[in-house]
């Protein structure tokens, strides 16, 4: 502790350089927090996917339909607890500045398969009795200023109504919350039967099935049993775990995790050079003073620790403020105005950030600290 003043005093030498170095580290860690949130947005669905859920879709592609009659047949397969239909609507709300997903579902079964989606008992009852009823995730409702009782007009892009035009109107009956923070609350769900009865074409079909299975350990067998059941039919199926489904979906946009990792690697490598250069220069400039410290009795290990402490302090200052500002920026909202279903800075990435801060401090200080330690006092004192 008594050496703290000595370490801190070195920050007074080249204030501009020190501040710029701290700022560059700070910016890197804001970027780290922000990119971690983006990566998380693309991969969180995978990590929160239920182990007891499967997705059944048309083998050709996700946009090809499946017959609604499959529901009863799937439910007869050993190990299946529940099967429920879902269909992508793909509509536009107002000027579409804040796009969101709209999915037609069977309310009761859907809420059974997704127990982490929470709505009030009253809201659930209203949804079950209101044909035009819909629920919105809290994040979405807050972003668009919706409240229960509102009428939500959505323009169809391809699911046009029988009545002509392209406008569908839904009654908002409940706001959906997540059981945990990482559950998506940015989507819009409405009744599949309302869709089916009122769409121009496609009656009797659905987009995909959510399946709840009794024993996750048997998922492989059940996947096989479902696909075998519909093999060689006009609507062959592709069944996979929800985790694999979401992962595959996310990867259609590219391997976001790898892209983010590549960007961060480049950023931190640059920062490593910047901070490392600052520390090396800081030590080079005061060789003579370090020689004096050695002459008056500072040991090699004390010299090493003092320089390391200095570089750790620079890294911790920039890193801590950067992580804090990054977390605040993430909390302020995602850059797509809510199109990303989940946008937060997960605790595991915060811990990773702290580890990187410490590593950065140690790595950038290691060589200058070693030089200070190995310094020959006589040689150092000769330098001016």
């Amino acid at each position: 502790m008594k050496f703290a003043r000595l370490v801190l005093s070195n920050f007074k030498r080249h204030k501009t350089r020190t501040i710029l170095t701290i700022l560059s580290i700070l910016v890197a860690f804001i970027l780290f927090a922000y990119l971690a949130a983006i990566r998380n947005a693309f991969t969180m669905g995978v990590s929160v996917a239920g182990a007891n859920r499967l997705i059944v879709r048309n083998r050709i592609s996700l946009i090809q339909p499946l017959p609604q009659s499959y529901e009863a047949q799937i439910e007869q397969i050993d190990g299946v607890a529940n099967a429920t239909q879902a269909a992508w609507f793909g509509g536009l709300y107002k000027d579409n500045k804040r796009p969101f997903g709209q999915i037609a579902v069977e309310p009761e079964e859907f809420l059974d398969v997704y127990p982490e989606y929470i709505i009030s008992a009253e809201g659930k009852a209203n949804w079950l009795k209101t044909r035009t009823g819909a629920i919105a995730g809290r994040k979405l409702a807050e972003a668009l200023g919706w409240k229960v009782g509102d009428k939500i007009p959505i323009q169809a892009t391809y699911m046009t109504p029988k009545t002509g035009g392209n406008l569908w109107t839904f009654d908002l009956v409940a706001i959906q919350d997540g059981r945990t923070e990482d559950v998506d609350t940015s989507s819009f769900f409405f009744r599949h039967d309302y869709l089916d009865e009122n769409r121009m074409r496609g009656q009797g079909t659905t987009g995909w099935y959510y399946i709840k299975i009794k024993d996750p350990a048997r998922s492989e067998q059940i996947v096989k049993a479902i696909d075998e059941k519909f093999a060689n039919s006009p609507f062959e199926t592709k069944t996979e775990t929800e985790k694999a489904f979401i992962k595959g979906f996310a990867e259609q946009m590219g391997n976001i995790g790898a892209i983010v990792t590549a960007i961060l690697t480049a950023v931190f490598f640059t920062i490593l050079l910047v901070a490392g250069n600052t520390m090396a220069q800081a030590v080079r400039e005061r060789i003579n003073e370090l020689g004096v410290l050695k002459a008056i009795g500072f040991t090699d290990s004390q010299m090493l620790l003092m320089v390391l402490a200095e570089s750790l302090l620079i890294s911790c200052l920039g890193g801590a403020i950067g992580l804090l500002l990054g977390a605040l920026a993430v909390n302020a909202g995602d850059p797509t105005n809510g199109a990303l279903p989940i946008f937060n800075f997960p605790p595991r990435d915060l811990i990773l950030g702290i580890v990187i801060v410490l590593l950065l401090g140690v790595i950038t200080g290691a060589w200058p600290a070693f030089q200070a330690m190995r310094l020959n006092a006589v040689d150092a004192l000769r330098r001016e």
């Binding site: 000595l6 030498r13 008056i296 009795g297 040991t299 006589v378």
Partner: protein, 235 residues
């Protein structure tokens, strides 16, 4: 060449010391079979031309360097046989260095510069401050305690350097050209201070200087040529 103090057991004893430096493939002898003894309470001036080995000898006495051959004993302890870590601790306890260019930390105030050697002791903050205040008072700079070196004159900076050298009450003060960067009047003030430390506080001082005027203030003067003590001049 041998040299002995006038009386008492020597505080510094250099026996048969040789020192070589390697410059490329050339081996340069800086000290040659040098013997020296400095008595406790002596104020010794080492003179001689550049390259005569004065500073090297001072570095050996101060435990900053080791002889190629021979022994260096301070207070009966063979400092040339101590490990680097032991030497660092030994320097902190026994040696006070005064440098030609003061070598103060520009980012620390006068009192914090003086405190530096005390950071290596077990003294608490209050005790350290008490020692610092005493040392600054001894060099007449109590009023400049909170000032940074850049706001001080050369003479004041050197006084801070001397306060730093004496703050741990070392056995031996080693001064390398302490007036070399000062004008005559200011230099005289520094020499007065060193003389007072020697006479009034019994500090043993070994001072390297080119300046005969500065050397005249010592109790004994040795003239070095080619790594050996060639002449002893009476005070």
């Amino acid at each position: 060449m041998s040299d002995t103090p006038t009386n008492g057991a020597p505080l510094v004893r250099i026996d048969g010391v040789e020192k070589f430096f390697q410059r490329g493939e050339e081996k340069i002898q800086v000290l040659a079979e040098l013997n020296l003894a400095v008595a406790p309470g002596e104020f010794l001036a080492l003179m001689g031309p550049s390259g005569s080995g004065k500073s090297t000898l001072l570095n050996l006495i101060g435990g900053l360097d080791r002889p190629t051959k021979g022994s260096v004993s301070i207070g009966g302890e063979r400092v040339d046989q101590l490990s680097d870590r032991q030497l660092a601790g030994w320097r902190a306890r026994h040696i006070g260095f005064v440098f030609q260019l003061y070598n103060l930390m520009p980012v620390l105030t006068a009192e914090r510069n003086v405190e530096l050697p005390l950071l290596l002791t077990h003294l608490n903050k209050a005790q350290r401050q008490k020692h610092v205040d005493t040392a600054l008072a001894m060099v007449g700079l109590s009023h400049r305690a909170k000032h940074f070196p850049r706001t001080m004159s050369g003479g004041e900076q050197q006084r801070v350097g001397i306060a730093r050298a004496i703050v741990t009450d070392p056995t031996l003060i080693l001064a390398d050209e302490p007036t070399g960067d000062l004008d005559r009047k200011t230099g005289d003030g520094i020499l007065d201070l060193l003389e007072a430390l020697n006479r009034e506080h019994g500090k043993t001082i070994v001072m390297v200087t080119h300046d005969p005027h500065a050397a005249n203030r010592s109790s004994r003067r040795l003239y070095m040529v080619d790594g050996q003590v060639s002449t002893e001049m009476a005070a």
